[in-house]
């Protein structure tokens, strides 16, 4: 009797849906990969992608879309993955993102779409970035990107300065509106940071090449080795060469140094130079390619951002015995993506956090021999609540080093501004625009977007700016409407 009562009262446990864990990303073994330039992450298999896609609960109000700077229909494409409609999924993503194979690899999803994924409240968020990469790679392997229908030619000419993600997006959008588009790129390869900055092991160059070739198939003209400001000025493009509008997407590639003693020694590089020599000029493949890079035993990379992580991991792959990150703040303050920091740790990079370089020492031949550093400690919180690092008195120490790579930030190259007098800049030297949506500069017919406007940011933000600028240029070419900049807008 009592037993019967008990069974009546106890509610039946609901059958729980088994929690599917976030599918891990297959990776090359850390020891092996630290010695080669092949991709670190290998991408999901079809099975893994489908399993991961089933984790998405298809929220009625999907926050993930709002978390994406270009508002990809994330639940939509994930549902297509679940249904094994991979090509359709890729096409859906491409409606709003020209370079999903790139963004799937390098976007900081953990701060964007995945940060707001509802699943993330109780467990790991859906691996949106990995799925984006999967569908883009699947399409690259299995599908030919069909050429879209072309509208009739408008007879309007648009010049794009810089072939980074911002410029490429503008070109791709405007060529499909029937305009003639020419990209002027200073370097001998298109892609901007995607080819000269981010290393092969994180972003294979073939992916970028494929996208650039696609733009050329669409009819975009690409003029490489064309430094605007030297070969032609913006004024000449507009007044003499017949361009009706210009987009400036020249990035922020001018490196900062530390201004400490010893920076002019041999063996000191800006991260830009170090990465460019290796990525673009294939120094790692010397003598097959003719840019040499000396093999250094001990390399210190100064900084804690993505650029620093890319440089230090490159140093390992070029054969350094010891590759250090020297960073003046704590690990939690590093702006680099968490994933990249962890990859660097697994590969054997040595982290010297709360450490500030104060002097680079050299030998009689002018080569780096050591780096003098100071230990730092966090000071009292200031008015903003931030605890800033301050040097610990008498804590100087020496690290033996034969190369130092400086990755503490960049700013805009002033060449275009210097040769375009009526282009307004903000306090930090970046081009001032009316707002993020119109991308109109102070000069009629000239638009700007990406790092040259925001300072160093992200690939997806540069692409978002490119899309906005393309819309604004289209509107300008149709209506001729402009704005009247008055005063200096606040930066």
């Amino acid at each position: 009797m009592s037993e019967e009562k008990q069974t009546k009262e106890a509610p039946k446990p609901k059958p729980k849906r088994p929690k599917i864990p976030r599918q891990p990303m297959p990776e090359q073994d850390a020891h092996a990969r630290a010695k080669n330039f092949e991709s670190v992450t290998l991408g999901y298999t079809m099975e893994q992608a489908v399993v991961e896609a089933t984790r998405c609960i298809q929220c009625k109000k999907p926050y993930c879309i709002g978390g994406c700077p270009v508002a990809i229909d994330i639940p939509g494409f994930i549902q297509l993955v679940k249904d094994k409609e991979f090509l359709k999924a890729a096409q859906l993503v491409k409606r709003t993102n020209l370079l999903p194979a790139v963004c799937g690899r390098v976007c900081p999803q953990e701060e964007q779409c995945e940060a707001v994924c509802v699943l993330g409240k109780k467990q790991d968020p859906v691996a949106i970035g990995r799925l984006e990469r999967f569908v883009a790679d699947y399409e690259a392997e299995h599908g030919e990107i069909p050429l879209p229908e072309f509208p009739p030619k408008t007879g309007k000419k648009v010049a794009v300065v810089g072939a980074g993600p911002g410029g490429l997006t503008v070109a791709g959008d405007l060529i499909q509106q029937g305009h003639d588009v020419t990209i002027f790129e200073a370097l001998h390869k298109a892609g901007g940071v995607l080819v000269y900055g981010i290393p092969e092991f994180r972003l294979p160059k073939a992916i970028v090449e494929r996208e650039v070739e696609y733009l050329q198939r669409l009819g975009v003209e690409l003029k490489l080795n064309h430094v605007i400001g030297k070969i032609r000025t913006i004024d000449q493009l507009m007044e003499e060469d017949g361009f009706d509008a210009v987009f400036i997407g020249s990035g922020a590639g001018l490196p900062w140094f530390m201004d400490i003693p010893g920076e002019n020694l041999n063996g000191v590089f800006s991260a830009n130079e170090y990465l460019t020599r290796n990525n673009l000029m294939k120094a790692f493949d010397f003598p097959s390619y003719d840019t040499p890079i000396k093999k250094f035993k001990n390399v210190a990379v100064i900084g804690g951002g993505n650029v620093a992580m890319d440089s230090v991991r490159t140093a390992l792959r070029l054969g350094a015995d010891n590759a250090y990150i020297v960073y003046r703040r704590g690990r939690e303050e590093m702006p680099a993506r968490q994933e990249e920091i962890e990859h660097a740790e697994h590969e054997g990079v040595k982290f010297k956090n709360l450490t500030a370089p104060v002097r680079i020492l050299g030998n009689d031949e002018g080569w780096v021999t050591a780096l003098e550093c100071l230990e730092m400690e966090l000071g009292e919180p200031d008015a903003s609540g931030r605890r800033r690092p301050i040097p610990v008195k008498g804590s100087e120490f020496i690290l033996e080093m034969d190369a130092v790579v400086i990755a503490i930030g960049t700013s805009a190259n002033p060449l275009i501004a210097q040769t375009t007098p009526d282009l307004k800049l903000n306090r930090k030297g970046y081009i001032e625009v009316e707002n993020e949506t119109t991308c109109r500069t102070s000069k009629k017919g000239v638009f700007a977007g990406g790092d040259i406007v925001t300072g160093s940011a992200t690939v997806i933000l540069a692409m978002g700016a490119g899309r906005n600028a393309a819309n604004a240029i289209q509107n300008y070419l149709q209506t001729g409407e402009w704005w009247s900049p008055n005063g200096t807008p606040e930066n």
Binding site: L254, D259, G409
Partner: protein, 151 residues
Amino acid sequence: MSFTTFKDIVTYAVEKEAEAIRFYTDASRQEEYAAAKGTFLAFAEEEKKHKALFENLDPQLVANYKFGKIPDLKRSDYMVETAYRPGMPYVDILRLAMKREEHAKKFYDDCVALVEGEDQKKLFQMLSQEESKHKLKLETMYDDAMAKAGD
């Protein structure tokens, strides 16, 4: 240079601020862009506040001056000297200004050690603390800009 009276010291400090105002104003004139001009003019304004403060100094004010611990981030202390050049980027402008404050502070600290009278020592300590405040303000601006970039 000898500082015998309160007035000598104040006159010197005022002249130092006047020099700083001239320096930043000249730099702003040489800049082509409104933005850089604006940065230099803002620095000149800061120095004007100091100049006004020093011009109105009297021994009573110094006696009542509140000393406190101004944190020193020492961002400029390990940097090499830098000179003004037209068109210099924003972070370089900050570095230049930080270095100037570092020198000014160090000068007054040296004076504290050199003079004998308590009142004079106190006056120099006050001047040093005022420069430390400027240095901290600039170094905080600089540190924020650099932290974002990965430094």
